[in-house]
């Protein structure tokens, strides 16, 4: 577990108006591994995730302070273009949200707007590669011009992952990507995420401790806006240090 550090966060506070959602968080997120954020509802794990690609900027009343470094660069510095940042830090949401366009256009959208493909053949290659990486290619290769919204829930979520991958990001943020899926689809997506962890820095927010256990290398436990404990997943689930973590992972509250 000596992967290089991708995100270095220090003293991060997040405010929604007058309400503080995140208090003084320090966390280092490692590259080429899966990091899981767990914790009860409203503990700030999603809010923190959204700080990592500045999605919180779209909320007028949200204010972020502290240091967030991506590869050593402050992502909240004035020189950083949040739109460009989001191309580097891709995001997958809780509910599958494919664009109401064809499967092909869904995946090709990112490369198109960022000018990643020089030719149509190039773009076709990216689409195939991304769908392959999301394990969806074999299922949809014959119907690429069908609407993405016509797929099943699990397929839609993998399409969204393929769409995020197609932009060639360095980090993938996933906000409870399996909570709207059935167990079978969940299993497929989990396998996918585990695989992606070998190539990307994956950060996943989840409500399911089993899921965190299954797919992540490191786990962070959030409670009431505080990062309570952060360690390897094995350590969190076998020898938690904080009393609150003990209570949560053993299922006493949450």
């Amino acid at each position: 577990m000596t992967d290089p550090i991708k995100f270095h966060c220090k003293g991060v506070d997040v405010w929604y108006g007058d309400t503080q959602a995140i208090r003084d968080n320090d966390i280092d997120i490692h590259d080429k591994s899966v990091t899981a954020f767990i914790g009860p509802s409203g503990c700030g794990k999603s809010t923190f995730l959204r700080c990592l690609n500045r999605m919180n900027d779209t909320i007028d009343i949200c204010r972020v302070t502290g240091t967030l470094l991506l590869d050593g660069d402050d992502i909240y510095s004035r020189d950083v273009d949040p739109v460009q940042l989001r191309a580097r830090v891709g995001m997958v949401f809780q509910k599958p949200n494919p664009f109401p366009k064809s499967i092909y256009d869904n995946v090709a959208y990112g490369p198109r707007i960022h000018g990643l493909a020089r030719s149509k053949a190039d773009l076709d290659g990216i689409v195939e590669e991304s769908l392959n990486a999301a394990g969806l290619w074999d299922e949809v290769k014959d119907r690429l011009d069908f609407p993405g919204t016509g797929l099943s829930g699990g397929q839609q979520q993998r399409l969204c992952i393929a769409r995020a991958i197609a932009t060639k990001p360095e980090v993938l943020l996933m906000d409870e990507p399996c909570s709207a899926l059935d167990p079978i689809a969940t299993e497929t997506v989990e396998e996918l995420i585990s695989g992606l962890g070998e190539r990307y820095c994956v950060v996943i927010v989840t409500h399911s401790m089993q899921q965190a256990n299954r797919i992540s290398q490191r786990t962070a436990f959030f409670h009431l806006g505080n990062l309570v404990e952060y360690d390897t997943t094995t350590a969190i689930f076998s020898t938690p240090q904080d009393e609150r973590t003990v209570g949560y992972v053993s299922g006493r509250f949450g």
Partner: protein, 583 residues
């Protein structure tokens, strides 16, 4: 079971008591009632719609055809006085219409449009020339209305017995031993009786006045008294005169049925069709009549039973624009098969005119198209841009709140106010040409803007935020998100709002009156700066016109307006469907 009241047995649910059953029944009754109300409301609306369409369509059908008269005309190769051609052709076809008023009535059958037709044909090089070219001349509006039975149908009474004819100067004395004219006499006398009743009513009114003045008499003195007395005298004079007239009419009515009654133009018109001619009765008794030939007979022989007929038009000549001589000529023409009823395509190729039979809708239609084009080109992009900015980019503060409130209020401003604004700002300040589609379009765009903005904002707001997140999550900028994802999804809603706005603008009259689009314009506008009128204003103008023939053209113009609306909406719906298919 002592505590049964405080703790009812578990099996007795509150949902199975008789009270619950009653509640259920009540609820169901309420639901049934509501459904019935809904059905009644829809039924009423449908009925109103059917009535409206029926009314418009049935009246429009009248304007769908027009009448032509086929006669021969002499046309020189380089003819330039086409009105003269029509007149001389008419004189040649009806040589018996001699004398000033007879000729005027004859010419009155033909429209100026007949000359216009020939002029157009000459310009196209399709005009036949020669000494006796068979031509079709457009009928005037009054003749056309007569052909449609607008002034009542000519009632034909079959002949009863033999009719003897004897010349008396220019006129003829008709005799029917069988008393064939008794009915005509009866009708004429009934008309006189109605007139007498009217005269007596007026006389009674004078009597009331006299009584009122006499009641005042004891209270007044001196000069005022003399005035009053004089007034009473005048009133009495009038009363006596009216009563005298009524009595004279009574004398006529009670006269012997063999005494000839003189017919006036205040009574029904009576014609006798015999020997190929048409005679108008000027005096009538039960058995004899004095008749003036309007269309001459082929010969003066007596006519046997079945060879002649009496025709009656109940509406008196004084109460209709079409004269007896014109009716006689039209009847003759129709009998000879020289009246043609053809589809009125000219309605779509001509513009406004003071003469209803050559008034068309083209000018107003093109004017409406130009105006709508200007309105759309302004209201749609500006409205959508404003909606996008307010919804996606504008910060939420007092200023944007203020703008929002004002846009909503603007939608409720009476349209005539926009007209005043257009007059003051666009025409007087910016010098936009008066009564041009540009000025109209600008005003209507102002009026339409709030509708478009409100609808577009609602449509943009209805796009699920997850789509915005999805786009932003892969690094799309705000602008890319809006134009690639939000706007296409919102477009059907935006188009719906735009249709509503444009439909409103299309039917708007009031603001256009203010900017001079109500002017009488006979030219078809060739651009947005030409003077023009629009469909609703054309409807308004024709509905105000005094000529009766404009009635059916008003209905036709309304039909064209509705058709325009349907076409416009259909285009918008097709566009909307196209956007929807991309989902």
């Amino acid at each position: 079971m002592t505590d049964a009241v405080s703790a009812p047995p578990l099996t007795a649910s509150v949902h199975s008591t008789p009270e619950a059953a009653a509640r259920l029944k009540k609820r169901r009754a309420a639901e049934t009632r509501l459904r019935a109300y809904g059905m009644i409301a829809i039924g009423l609306a449908a009925l109103a719609l059917v009535a409206l369409l029926w009314n418009i369509v049935s009246r429009t059908m009248n304007a769908a055809t027009e009448h032509y008269i086929s006669i021969d005309a002499e046309i020189e190769p380089d003819e330039d006085d086409f009105l003269g051609v029509v007149k001389s052709a008419a004189r040649d076809a009806f040589p018996y219409a001699s004398g000033r008023s007879a000729k005027r009535e004859l010419y009155g059958l033909f429209s100026d449009g007949a000359a216009d037709d020939m002029r157009r044909a000459q310009e196209d090089g399709t005009l036949q020339t020669g000494a006796a070219v068979p031509m079709r001349f457009l009928m005037s509006d009054t003749a056309d209305l007569y052909m449609r039975g607008e002034f009542g149908e000519l009632e034909t009474q079959a002949s009863a017995g033999m009719l003897t004819i004897a010349a008396e100067g220019k006129d003829f004395v008709l005799t029917s031993r069988a008393g064939a004219f008794a009915d005509a006499l009866g009708r004429a006398k009934a008309g006189l009786a109605r007139e007498a009743v009217g005269l007596r009513r007026q006389a009674a009114r004078q009597g009331t006045g006299i009584a009122a003045l006499q009641a005042r008499l004891p209270d007044v003195t001196g000069l005022e008294r003399e005035d009053t007395l004089g007034q009473i005298e005048r009133f009495e004079g009038a009363r006596d005169r009216l009563e005298g007239q009524a009595a004279a009419l009574d004398a006529l009515i009670t006269a012997d049925r063999d005494t000839r009654l003189e017919l006036t133009n205040r009574m029904a018109s009576f014609f006798v069709a015999v020997n190929g001619g048409i005679l108008k009765l000027s005096e009538v008794s039960a058995t004899t009549a004095l008749a003036e030939p309007l269309v001459p007979m082929a010969g003066g022989e007596d006519a046997a039973n079945g060879e002649w007929s009496l025709r009656i038009l109940d509406r008196p000549e004084i109460g209709r624009p079409v004269k007896d001589r014109q009716i006689a000529i039209l009847e003759t023409l129709q009998q000879e098969g020289r009246v043609e009823k053809v589809a009125n395509w000219k309605f779509f190729s001509l513009s406004d005119s003071t003469q209803p039979e050559i008034a068309g809708i083209k000018g107003a239609l093109i004017g409406s198209m130009w105006t709508m084009l200007v309105t759309f080109c302004l209201a749609f992009p500006i409205g959508v841009s404003a909606a996008i900015y307010l919804e996606e980019f504008a910060p939420k503060n007092w200023f944007t709140d203020f703008i929002e409130v004002n846009i909503n209020n603007l939608a409720a401003v009476p349209s005539i106010v926009f007209g005043l604004l257009g007059l003051a700002v666009f025409i007087n300040f910016f010098g936009v040409p008066r009564s041009s589609p540009l000025a109209g379009g600008l005003v209507l765009a102002l009026m339409t803007l709030p509708t478009v903005i409100i609808a577009a904002r609602a449509a943009i707001r209805a796009v699920p935020p997850s789509i915005r997140w999805a786009a932003m999550g892969i690094g799309a900028s705000r602008t890319q998100t809006v134009f690639h994802h939000v706007l296409p999804l919102a477009m059907p809603g935006i188009l719906t709002g735009t249709i509503i706005g444009m439909a409103q603008a299309l039917g708007e009259t009031a603001p256009l009156l203010m900017i001079g689009m109500v002017a009488f314009i006979t030219a078809v506008p060739e651009g947005i700066t030409d003077s023009a009128t629009v469909l609703p204003v054309q409807v308004f103008n024709w509905a105000n016109a005094s000529e009766r023939a404009f009635d059916m053209r008003t209905a036709a113009a309304i039909a064209v307006l509705l058709a325009f609306l349907v076409v416009m909406n259909m285009v918008a719906i097709i566009l909307r469907k196209r956007f929807e298919r991309r989902w």
